[in-house]
Symmetry: C2
Subunit: 474 residues, 2 copies
């Protein structure tokens, strides 16, 4: 079935790509999803890339249970207020009613800091640099595959430090050296790092940082967050340690996470009217060979040549699509939709001319190549396509970022989902609320290396204290 055009109906385009590329589908319980093999293979590679960086930066994985006694959630006031409306609650188990209801983790600060109260005794126990990959549950009213699901998959890092500067350095390091690095290098996406305003902060955090990615419909997607929690959780859960001077002190905390939502970001930042475009680093199949033949004799010659090329492609992930029930044209469309970086068309006539046809998914360039060097060419294309997707993502973001001269200009731009509008802001929640009411847009981030605000707040005209990037958002 043909895809809707992005420019005509982006939400339907997204939904159809997820469905037709066989990435995921809705499951029986509202808001839950099945991640299908092709989609899960992409997520596994994303996970692997983050896991490697998380470990390389000194963190260890562990695993906490998903059940949290309801009373535990209530100890940090802002936190419970933020999450209580979203939690799922187990009231019965093993055939009878539980004495105390259990909350399924919406995030794990509470149960982890309760454990840290036993694990942290002395400054020698610090820092604790721990992470877990797990499922979490937040009841969603308007679920959307990958972007907002009731159950989703993520990693959550939870660290404890002796001093505030150490914790703040960790929070920033995770944002830039882990999250931004992997998202840009491996996912070939472009993101802007920055701080959240108070109204968008994680419940219980003193500072939330974010990487924000612009989707092809001009809306922003919060793609990863890193929080500095100060001593809030340490104090709420009674965590104290003997410091170097012998005094009892409270440790400083960070928490940070990226989730399956990133798959949605990948689709919406790279995809085009033909469907997905996958960076080679993540593609389940980096090369798809489509054999073209009419007779049995042609078929065996072509498949033999395909097998030879597969061997030459070595450790690249290659699929020979030799399904009998579909014609080549159908397969071309399907692998364009599913985002395979390179398609190799191999026909009997090509063989006679000692060549194969190579099609790049990123540019849709199509060119014949001599059989003798096609493997080498295709191998070289992988890094090139990775770079090109990254370049396009950055260019798109830059082309859709403005510095408006007036509030009217900004509002029109935001109402039309034009992208990021970066402008001076006075720091007040009232101005945020006004833009939200009039343009359905929020401050996505305050640039990390602050762009000096130029002139007065674009909304109210009072003194500007920060540059702020506004956009509509998912």
């Amino acid at each position: 079935m043909a895809l809707p055009r992005q420019s005509e109906d982006f939400p339907s385009w997204y939904q159809e790509v997820v469905k037709q590329a066989d990435l995921a589908e809705n499951s029986l319980v509202r808001g839950t999803m099945v991640i299908k093999p092709y989609g899960f293979a992409i997520w596994e590679r994303i996970q692997e890339a983050f896991d490697e960086r998380i470990k390389a930066t000194g963190h260890q994985n562990l695993m906490f249970p998903m059940f949290i006694p309801a009373r535990l959630l209530e100890k940090e006031a802002e936190h419970v207020e933020g999450f209580a409306p979203e939690v799922a609650v187990v009231t019965h188990a093993g055939g009878s009613e539980l004495e105390e209801p259990l909350v399924i983790r919406p995030t794990s600060e509470t149960i982890i800091w309760d454990a840290y109260s036993r694990w942290i005794q002395s400054y020698r126990d610090l820092p604790l640099l721990y992470n877990q990959w797990c499922n979490v549950v937040r009841w969603e009213l308007r679920p959307r595959l990958f972007l907002r699901t009731t159950e989703f998959y993520w990693q959550e890092g939870h660290t404890a430090h002796e001093t505030a500067p150490e914790a703040i350095a960790e929070q920033r390091m995770i944002l830039t050296d882990v999250y931004q690095d992997v998202v840009e290098r491996v996912m070939a996406m472009h993101v802007a790092p920055g701080h959240k305003t108070e109204s968008e902060r994680f419940p219980g955090a003193l500072d939330s940082m974010t990487i924000e990615a612009l989707m092809r419909d001009g809306k922003a997607l919060q793609s990863g967050t890193s929080h500095y929690l100060g001593q809030n959780f340490a104090k709420a859960y009674g965590v104290q340690f003997q410091g170097r001077t012998g005094e009892l002190e409270s440790p400083y905390a960070t928490s940070w996470g990226v989730s399956t939502r990133l798959v949605g970001g990948l689709i919406m930042q790279h995809g085009d009217d033909r469907g997905l475009r996958l960076p080679p680093a993540l593609a389940p199949y980096q090369v798809v060979i489509v054999p073209i033949h009419r007779t049995d004799d042609e078929r065996s010659r072509v498949l033999e040549a395909a097998a030879k090329i597969v061997a030459e492609l070595g450790d690249l992930r290659v699929k020979v699509d030799d399904r009998e029930e579909h014609r080549p044209g159908y397969k071309f469309n399907e692998w364009e939709l599913r985002g395979a970086p390179v398609r190799l068309e191999l026909g009997a006539r090509d063989l006679d001319q000692e060549q194969a046809t190579v099609v790049r998914r990123d540019t849709m360039d199509k060119s014949p190549r001599p059989l003798g060097s096609v493997a080498e060419h295709v191998r070289g294309l992988q890094a090139e396509i990775q770079r090109e997707l990254r370049r396009q993502a950055r260019a798109f973001t830059e082309e859709h970022t403005i510095r408006p001269g007036s509030y009217d200009e900004m509002r029109s731009f935001l109402v039309a989902s034009g992208g990021f509008a970066i402008a001076s802001w006075c720091g007040s929640g009232e101005c945020e609320a006004k833009v939200k009411a009039e343009a359905k847009a929020t401050i996505r981030y305050l640039p990390m290396d602050p762009v000096r605000p130029e002139g007065p707040c674009i909304v109210c005209g009072d003194e500007g204290v920060d540059a702020a990037a506004w956009a509509r958002a998912y």
Copy 2:
């Protein structure tokens, strides 16, 4: 704290090893556990080894949600009867009571076969060879860390096939080529493969196969199972496909799983009175270097020599335990307890003699080695220790397997938790029940390549139809 001896109090020995080696601890909700970083690093390597084999044998990973509508569980009669008493139920979410309660998956046949009813239309869609790594919940009355926890982590494979022989071949292939292979090759354990009797079958299966491992207290641990489900789930969930002849047919199913329980098996099959013994393939640190020094000058010389050895050890996982607050003797004990395969003691006096002391955890052999070749020696030890642990596990199992000549002999052996007793069995549940009542032992497996039963049933004297391996079990 000193460990209890295995021979005096095996359960306490187990509990203390888990605690003192910092593998896991109980969490707040009864029966749930926190897997700590050292334990989780072991589990991650186990997972990785299985995942690699599962993929190499043609399977793909995907992910189903953990929430199953209660009505869905009820469609396969035996299955619901088996699992209903153990499930945890979500009744409230998002601030209000749910219209229909949700069961948290105790296993996923029900939700997966419901999806297969949409995914399978034609014989061309078969086989489906899918697997997922996830958490499951079964309410446990007598929880024990790793062995039986309310929430545990596992992989569950769910395949659908055109014919019964294909499904049965898959069931056996998983048991021997994936499970037994990884458990023996990577975990260095010894297991016996076989079939379960009807009374021990998975609810809804036509045949359950198992790998059973003997622990050092003579009790067996079911370490992995692979089930042939026939058409039970296909029929319960209305899965039909158009076969090669155009007729509508029901596919044949398998399901199979290994879990974090394997970590318990690893501890109890390899451990000794000093603590854990880890096979090098799984050890978070394959080599621990303990520097020994009294003066600052000695310290810097020793740490310099240690750094040189670390570099020479290349990609081995090495830890230099340079904690200041503990003496070398403390560290020796701790790393013996935590099962590091090789300890390298490096003192100033050793350096003067151009040597280091190498201690093998498997044999506790201790020998000096010239500094110039110590890295090469330690590297070679890895494969040797892996083999030796495997050899010891096999030898222990063989030494604790008897073929009793009489029922009395068998009963006494089983009552004393002597190991496996292999004897003829008439196939009746009455004889199984009698042994269970009189010796608290069950048939752990019917050997896969059937040992011809010799003579009459050891329990009742009727004709023997199978050889059966009895043991007490976890």
